[in-house]
Amino acid sequence: MEQEQQNSNTVQTGKISNGTKGMTVIVKTIASWVKVLIFLFGINIVLFGHLTPGGGFAGGVILASSYVLLMLAFGREFVEENLPLPLASKLDCLGAFMFALVAILGIVFGGSFFLNFLYQKYLPGQPLHLVSAGIIPLANIAIGLKVGASLFLITLMLSISCKGRECRFE
């Protein structure tokens, strides 16, 4: 019985030792000002992907990197309260599902898979304006959401380091 109790004490399910809690005051102040600008820039690149260079993939990576900046400056727990892991994986799945939905709506409204039904039938818009090019902005938003959530998830996962029986968060 003593052996069992000792085993249940050394199994580290709840005992987490915090690593470093973040960086110095200068880095924290600058990071809290800059994170909003990075996020806004990422939204700009995703949303205007059909007019300026960029698109869904690059914009999604920029969105993820604003959260990675927060994670490096403030520590992992601060970001985990803000955007917890189940919510990030739900956003990832939502992005992938939206992309597939946009493609399948091409069969419903048009005739073929991935048809640009908004541009050719319902909402042509004017070239060089925001509302143009049919389903391309919608697909860019879906891809940006998906790539951003994916890279945030993988960086969160890699900040858990397990050595033997003890898991440390950094």
Binding site: V11, H50, G55, V61, P124, A133, I136, A139
Partner: protein
């Protein structure tokens, strides 16, 4: 044109340093330098979409690599290089280099639009009818999401599946001790 050769020299030197150095942090930083040189090269070749994507993915990939390796307390590469593996890889690289030089001499000069000479080729059709068919001012976005949208679907699927696999493997509670009973 001279700046392309300078960037190439920079990237080759950074690659040699990344392979030869013993400190893991230095080699990761040299990999970052290779990616930055590549992004500048894309900008010189007038491809801003690829340049943006390359520099951003490079920076984030550096952070992920540093996170993955430094926190494991393994900051020095030890051990010797084995002889037979080195010889085989050098021979294969040399053969591919010779074959590449043969192929490179058959290409036209740098900067000539080879598909402009063939009427009805896909790239000419995309450039001429891109705005009319898709409505997107950025022809590249029109190509990857309207003309060739199926390839983008495949790429998104590959990214999704790889993140899924990595998340399952790297869970914190995935290690189970031998003496722990099954719940």
């Amino acid at each position: 044109m001279i700046i392309l050769y300078l960037l190439l020299l920079f990237m080759i030197i950074a690659a040699i340093i990344a392979v030869e150095t013993k400190d893991l942090l230095s080699s990761i930083i040299c990999v970052g330098a290779i990616g930055t040189g590549g992004s500048l090269m894309f900008l010189m070749l007038r491809a801003p979409d690829i340049a943006i994507t390359q520099i951003v993915v490079e920076v984030l990939g550096l952070i992920i690599m540093i996170r993955a390796t430094i926190s494991r307390d393994l900051t020095f590469i030890t051990g010797d290089r084995e002889f037979f593996g080195t010889v085989v890889s050098v021979v294969i690289i040399f053969v591919i280099f010779l074959a590449g030089m043969e192929v490179l001499e058959t290409l036209p000069d740098f900067g000539t639009p080879i598909f402009a000479k063939v009427e009805g080729s896909p790239s000419q059709i995309y450039i001429e009818n891109g705005l009319k068919d898709t409505g997107a001012a950025n022809v590249i976005a029109g190509i990857i999401l309207d003309y060739r949208g199926y390839d983008t679907l495949g790429e998104a699927t590959v990214l999704f599946t790889s993140i899924l696999g990595a998340t399952v493997i790297l869970r914190a509670k995935s290690r189970k001790l031998v003496e722990e009973p099954d719940k």
